[in-house]
């Protein structure tokens, strides 16, 4: 599940070159939206490795796909308020990179997980459960998710879409709430 053009190319190549079957997700919203100069030489992005996009000390924000960009927006805004958030782009959902996420939790003790899909049964439910199971002793606040709402259909009207989808505002608010805990 790439969030950048570089990852889109690198992950696809890894998927093709790998012997295992791979499900490769693309976010439609990113198609005509992200632009990036890529190196001409051959490169791949390994499957199962998340990317530390920004280092911070107060809280860890984990996301992927389009939500990485929404999270980046939120984290940049928070930085101006003096909140130092660490931002991780998962890049691969299965297997996902426990190492880098756990390491970050050990450092910050507070986590916000951001996914676009509905809260129930999403990728972040798994990540949240794993952190609570394995990193409990390092937590200073509840692991908290920012997700799409648990509704049966995705609304199309812009105001309703805004209401339904996570955005930078909602992410920033949640980060503050967790920090205040």
């Amino acid at each position: 599940m790439p969030a950048t053009a570089y990852d889109a190319k690198g992950l696809l190549k890894s998927a093709i070159r790998g012997d295992d079957p791979v499900i490769y997700y693309e976010h439609k919203r990113l198609y005509r939206w992200i632009k990036e100069d890529l190196p001409e030489e051959d490169f791949t992005v390994p499957i199962g490795r998340a990317a530390m996009r920004k280092e911070g000390s107060d809280i860890t924000v984990v996301s992927y796909g389009l939500m990485y960009h929404r999270s980046l927006e939120a984290v940049s805004a928070l930085e101006k308020e003096g909140i130092s958030a660490e931002l991780i782009d998962m890049r691969t959902l299965s297997p996902w990179d426990r190492e880098i996420i756990f390491e970050s939790v050990r450092k910050t003790s507070r986590v916000v997980l951001v996914q676009e899909s509905s809260k129930t049964g999403g990728v972040m439910a798994e990540v949240s459960a794993a952190i609570t199971e394995e990193m409990f002793d390092y937590l200073d606040a509840p692991v908290t998710r920012v997700c799409g709402l648990d509704v049966p259909a995705i609304p199309f009207a812009p105001p309703m879409e805004h209401f339904f989808l996570p955005n930078a505002d909602k992410i920033a608010r949640t980060v503050k709430k967790v920090l205040e805990y």
Binding site: S109, D140, Y181
Partner: protein, 427 residues
């Protein structure tokens, strides 16, 4: 072979010496242990012996040169090989100066003393029971509980800033930080380098000052008498005129010219105060060359204002200003610092209330001027507040008797307390 003569260690805390004279001329033959050169240090003069038989080939430095320990000062031609043992070691092999054990600087204090035993002993660490009770009593997160156990913290002692007073990880970290800060053993003052002492050779001006002071202090039987002067009138006069004069003439008349004039008037009656004593000859001066001590960075100089008896207050002020500037610029000529007949030193500018100045030999007296302070004094049976200047007059008791000096000082003060009588004549 050629042998280089170096300045050997000349004693503890001596870093340099001055070549007084060469005892072996170039070309002289030298026996081992013959004195080669005489070197003066601030402690003693020493003769440096030759470590070998040979011939003095060349002096590398002339007499009167300041040489540091270890400097090569001469070349000798010596018989045979010179063994290392016969040369002077300027420093031990390690290259460090030998410092007695007790003078060694203590190890710098560490960030903090971080031993569990120390902490427990000091009561900084909570015992197990307190830790567990604390965890149960306080709302806290898993990471806080872990930290409490790891760092022996009773959470009840940590102030929580979280929601509803919850203790957060940040609170615990702050608590640990503060706890360690209590531990830090810091000296009151830490010099940037850890040398146990700073070695400053007394040379140049400082040495001259020191010699003069010793000579004056230990040959002249000093006595200092104190008396207080009500400065109201002089202050009032200054208040009235000094700004105007400064505007017109560019010179601000301080109290010093007034004091100089008062000395002159009083000395008419008590002339032996303004005199010099040398080789059992007292020269009572009919003129007043008044030395005024000027403090400079790290030294002191006493420029002399010549013939104050012929000068106006303004002229004395002008001369003082000029000489002080020259003193600070280090451009005083010899005749501007010699020939004094009496001196004034103003310790009051720095805040002193009293001092016992040392006479500038061969003069007979020096007047110490101090801070003017508003003091309660009795006038006509009433307590009133007056600006009081406490003068200290040091005099040579060989020349002047106590009563004479005390009366001089009193008379001088009378002139200052009633300046109107003479002011018109000298403005």
């Amino acid at each position: 072979m050629e042998y280089k003569v170096v300045v050997p260690p000349l004693g503890e805390s001596v870093v340099e010496g001055t070549i007084v004279k060469w005892l072996k001329n170039e070309g002289d033959s030298v026996k081992a242990d013959d004195p080669l050169v005489e070197i003066m240090t601030d402690k003693i003069n020493v003769e440096i012996p030759s470590p070998h038989n040979g011939v003095m080939k060349k002096h590398l430095v002339p007499p009167d040169t300041v040489v540091e320990i270890g400097r090569e000062i001469a070349l000798m031609e010596v018989e045979g090989e010179v063994t290392a043992a016969r040369t002077f070691d300027t420093k031990p092999e390690s290259g460090e100066e030998r410092i007695p054990q007790e003078q060694k600087a203590p190890e710098p204090a560490g960030e903090f003393i971080d031993s569990a035993a120390h902490h427990r002993q000091e009561g900084i660490h909570a015992d197990e029971e307190a830790i567990e009770t604390g965890i149960k009593a306080v709302q806290s997160s898993p990471v806080v509980r872990r930290l409490a156990r790891e760092h022996f913290i009773d959470l009840r002692k940590v102030s929580g800033t979280g929601k509803g007073g919850r203790v957060s990880k940040q609170d615990v970290i702050k608590y640990i930080d503060a706890r360690h800060r209590v531990d830090v053993v810091k000296p009151d003052f830490q010099f940037p380098d850890l040398e146990p002492e700073e070695v400053i050779p007394v040379t140049g001006v400082r040495k001259v000052i020191s010699e003069h002071m010793v000579k004056a202090a230990f040959t002249i039987p000093h006595v200092t008498t104190f008396d207080e002067c009500d400065m109201s009138r002089v202050i009032a006069w200054r208040r009235q005129y000094v700004d105007r004069i400064e505007k017109e003439d560019g010179i601000r008349i301080t109290f010093m010219p007034f004091i100089a004039k008062a000395i002159i008037f009083a000395a008419k009656e008590f002339p032996w105060i303004n005199a010099t004593l040398e080789d059992d000859v007292l020269r009572v001066k009919k003129y007043f060359n008044i030395g005024m001590a000027v403090a400079r960075e790290n030294s002191l100089i006493v420029p002399v204002i010549k013939h104050c008896e012929q000068k106006s207050l303004l002229q004395i002020a002008r001369d003082m200003h000029e000489l002080a500037e020259k003193a600070n610029a280090d451009t005083l000529q010899m005749d501007e610092i010699t020939g004094g007949t009496i001196s004034i030193t103003n310790a009051g500018g720095m805040g002193a209330l009293s001092s016992t100045p040392i006479i500038a030999k061969p003069q007979v007296a020096i007047l110490g001027v101090h801070k003017i302070v508003d003091k309660p004094v009795v006038r006509d049976g009433e307590i009133v507040i007056r600006p009081i200047l406490n003068f200290g007059l040091s005099f040579d008791h060989r020349v002047v008797d106590g009563a004479y000096a005390v009366r001089f000082l009193r008379r001088m003060i009378e002139y200052l307390e009633e300046p109107d009588r003479w002011l018109l004549g000298v403005i």
